[in-house]
């Protein structure tokens, strides 16, 4: 293994701060703002503006915000990084074939063919950087005898000289002075530093047998990297058949029915392209760009798979729901003009499945006739009118059940939230009637004053109850409470401080009331 010149020279192209660049490309972040991508609650990547303000990798969000108050923090999203990198890979492939994606933001190529085609390694590296520059991206490239060494070479290149070539046979010498943390394995690095081994050169000097017995297979791999002999081969990827479809409208179209009509051939092509690959689309992402450059994006799920009509329906719904400020409320009719003409429409298959598996058998045993009937109803009444309940956690009864449009998957985390204990939950039996919006009621004490709950949780005795304004007041025959709810005082959007009363009125109706500072609402009725 030590005499392994079998691994050929490699070219690695590295895009610094890729998660940040991907967020900018996806339109979730504007240029030139202090921004950070958070990974597991810590700053993973931050922009140059944030770095100037003193934000560094590994800070907690709170501390980063105290150093840079206008910091925009975005959660890390591997899917976004990979999706945006796809276009970059395609661009590089156009000038240098045989790209191996190591991870989003980092790709490797075999150096030999490229160098022979372009004449010199400098020119080959220049071609890769030029491909990136055409997309408006900043990149660094490095040549060396192994993938790891080439990656380090690319990372050591600077903005003014973005290409670094380590001549053949000098990779080990190039790697030797680098710190041990360059291996990218914090556990191993911390152990080695405590053993007094601070550079890759020190580590490479250890005997192979000792490294194997002390550090196992991972240590052996790291040792090979440090010696400049990365056993990872460069495996050129098979360029994927493009399954997404884009249509540009010139001039832009501003009526839903026009767009739906123009979309039909594209949707047919989209579904046919997937079918030829033996795939069925179960989740579709629709991106709509209007002439003001504004992009709306939405993911649509499907319990079976998208047919041509379904694709057109989803785009239509997205267009109809796009603009809340339209005269007919938040749902526009098909003939109505949109706020801005649509210039580009993009259909991306977000999740696909083997067509054979999706033919007859269905998720969770939903039978085809049922699904078809409900979808027909959905296209008659609108996407949000046929609902499917999913248990979700929460303190208020109305938020404990999430109503999902038919065919949508619940967002991640809902199932976990439903499992949590939720202290303060009301005792069984639960009320059958849960008002979607709490109804304003009155709860009065014997002096006909609204019942008040003080800071210590003492309340006056409820004596009268009026279910809604304009109704006769009824005597309260039984009551229990106040049961306090205190929720997320640190979060202004979800903070809630209220008290619950269970009451039984003179007509035999039982109610669950929710009140704060003398105002009372009926949350639910027991009936």
């Amino acid at each position: 293994m030590s005499s392994a010149p079998s691994v050929p020279r490699a070219l690695v192209v590295w895009f610094p701060d890729w998660p940040l660049v991907a967020a900018q490309l996806a339109g979730e972040l504007s240029d030139r703002v202090p921004a950070a991508i958070m990974e597991k609650g810590l700053v993973g990547v931050c922009s140059g503006e944030a770095r100037q303000a003193g934000v560094v990798r590994g800070l907690r969000l709170r501390e980063a915000q105290s150093r840079c108050p206008d910091l925009v923090a975005l959660p890390a999203e591997a899917a976004r990084d990979a999706r945006e990198f796809e276009a970059v890979l395609t661009a590089i492939e156009a000038s240098l074939p045989g790209v191996h994606e190591l991870r989003p933001g980092l790709c490797a190529l075999r150096a030999r063919g490229a160098a022979r085609y372009y004449g010199r390694e400098e020119d080959a590296g220049g071609a890769a950087l030029e491909a990136a520059a055409r997309l408006g991206l900043e990149a660094r490239a490095g040549f060396a005898d192994s993938v790891f060494a080439a990656e380090q070479a690319a990372k050591s290149a600077v903005e003014l000289a973005p290409l670094r070539i380590v001549p053949p046979g000098e990779s080990a010498a190039f790697l030797a002075p680098l710190p041990i943390a360059a291996l990218g394995d914090p556990k191993l690095a911390s152990l080695l530093v405590r053993l007094g081994i601070r550079t890759l050169g020190d580590f490479a000097a250890l005997p192979l047998a000792d490294v194997r017995s002390r550090f196992g297979p991972e240590g052996l791999m790291a040792h090979a990297w440090a010696r400049g002999e990365d056993p990872r081969p460069v495996v050129p990827r098979v360029p994927p058949t493009p399954l997404e479809r884009v249509v540009d409208f010139e001039p832009g179209l501003d009526r839903v029915d026009q767009i739906a009509f123009a979309l039909r051939p594209l949707a047919e092509d989209f579904v046919e392209g997937l079918r030829r690959e033996g795939l069925a689309c179960t989740e579709l992402r629709v991106q709509i760009t209007d002439d003001a450059g504004h992009r709306t994006e939405r993911c649509w799920g499907h319990p079976r798979h998208f047919s041509v009509g379904d694709v057109v329906d989803r785009v239509r719904w997205q267009l109809q729901a796009a603009d809340v400020g339209s005269p007919s409320g938040n749902w526009r009719s098909t003939g109505e003009a949109l706020a801005a003409p649509v210039v580009q429409l993009r259909l991306l298959p977000e999740r696909t499945d083997q067509l054979g598996l999706r033919g007859q058998a269905l998720f969770g045993g939903v039978d085809e006739r049922l699904d078809h009937g409900l979808r027909r109803l959905q296209s008659m009444l609108g996407h949000d009118s046929v609902l499917h309940p999913v248990e979700a956690g929460g303190r208020l009864l109305a938020e404990r059940c999430l109503m999902l449009p038919w065919g949508e998957e619940p967002p991640s985390g809902v199932a976990a939230a439903a499992e949590r204990p939720w202290p303060g939950a009301i005792p069984a039996p639960l009320p059958a009637t849960v008002f979607p919006e709490p109804v304003r009621v009155e709860l009065l004490d014997a002096a006909a004053e609204p019942v008040l709950v003080d800071a210590r949780g003492h309340a006056s005795t409820p004596a009268w109850f009026r279910p809604g304004s304009g109704k006769d007041r009824r005597a309260v025959r039984g009551w229990a409470g106040p049961w306090p709810i205190l929720q997320r005082w640190w979060d202004p959007a979800q903070a809630l401080r209220a008290d619950r009363f269970q009451i039984l009125d003179d007509d035999g109706d039982a109610w669950l009331l929710l009140g704060a500072s003398g105002s009372w609402w009926a949350e639910a009725r027991y009936d």
């Binding site: 008659m380 069984a428 039996p429 639960l430 059958a432 269970q502 039984l504």
Partner: protein, 218 residues
């Protein structure tokens, strides 16, 4: 009589006869297969054999009774639909034993409620409906043939012009809530089922049917 029928032609004659009988039943308004949807055991004094598939029941009772009526069939694996009831407490329904995976809600039936309801009746075996204010006898009879054809049982909150029977609450009370202590625990109610002049009654405690999904927090 001199020529005995061969066994094969006798069998085909029997098939034909059965088919004809089924068609007569269909025309007479009875389903060809007498389908029944099961109910929870506490309803057996009212409806011993369950809910008849393809008919409508009128319910002059609160929503929880309707949930309890759906629960038996839902637990047996049937899909249920709830139409026109935006305040349907799905969590309480789950407590009765209604499977949320097999529950579909259409909170607003829209302008053409009859079309929506027929579309639901086409695909769902049990539909709970809040009676629209403008339901006429004509609408109901048009829907009734659709229900019979599809074997869909309709449970209507409110009065319904052509119902198989009416379930009514005769008396109900809540127990367990005192003056500033306790909480609602039991809800015994006396239910009556009347069907063409016959009437059966039963006392049911709906609260005891709800296995506590929300564990007692206090």
């Amino acid at each position: 009589m001199s020529l005995p029928l061969s066994s094969a032609s006798a069998a085909s004659a029997a098939d034909q006869l059965r088919e004809l009988q089924e068609r007569i039943h269909l025309l007479q308004g009875r389903r060809n297969k007498e389908g029944m949807y099961p109910l929870l055991p506490c309803f057996s004094p009212l409806l011993p054999s369950g809910l008849r598939a393809g008919s409508a029941y009128s319910l002059e009772a609160p929503l929880s009774v309707a949930m309890a009526l759906l629960a038996g069939a839902s637990a047996e694996g049937e899909w249920c639909g709830v139409a026109g009831i935006p305040e349907f407490g799905a969590e309480a329904a789950a407590g009765f034993g209604i499977s949320l995976e097999r529950l579909v809600l259409v909170p607003d039936l829209g302008e053409r409620w009859l079309v929506t309801l027929s579309a639901l009746a086409d695909v769902l075996p049990l539909v709970l409906l809040r009676a629209p204010a403008r339901a006429s006898g004509g609408d109901a009879s048009r829907l009734a043939s659709r229900l019979r054809e599809r074997g869909c049982t309709l449970i209507v909150l409110g009065t319904w012009p052509q119902s198989e029977g009416v379930i009514r609450v005769e008396a109900a009370r809540w127990d367990g809530l005192g003056e500033g202590h306790g909480h609602l625990r039991s809800h015994p109610m006396q239910l009556a089922y009347s069907n063409r002049g016959r009437k059966r009654t039963a006392v049911v405690d709906l609260a005891s049917l709800r296995s506590g999904t929300g564990s007692a927090g206090r």
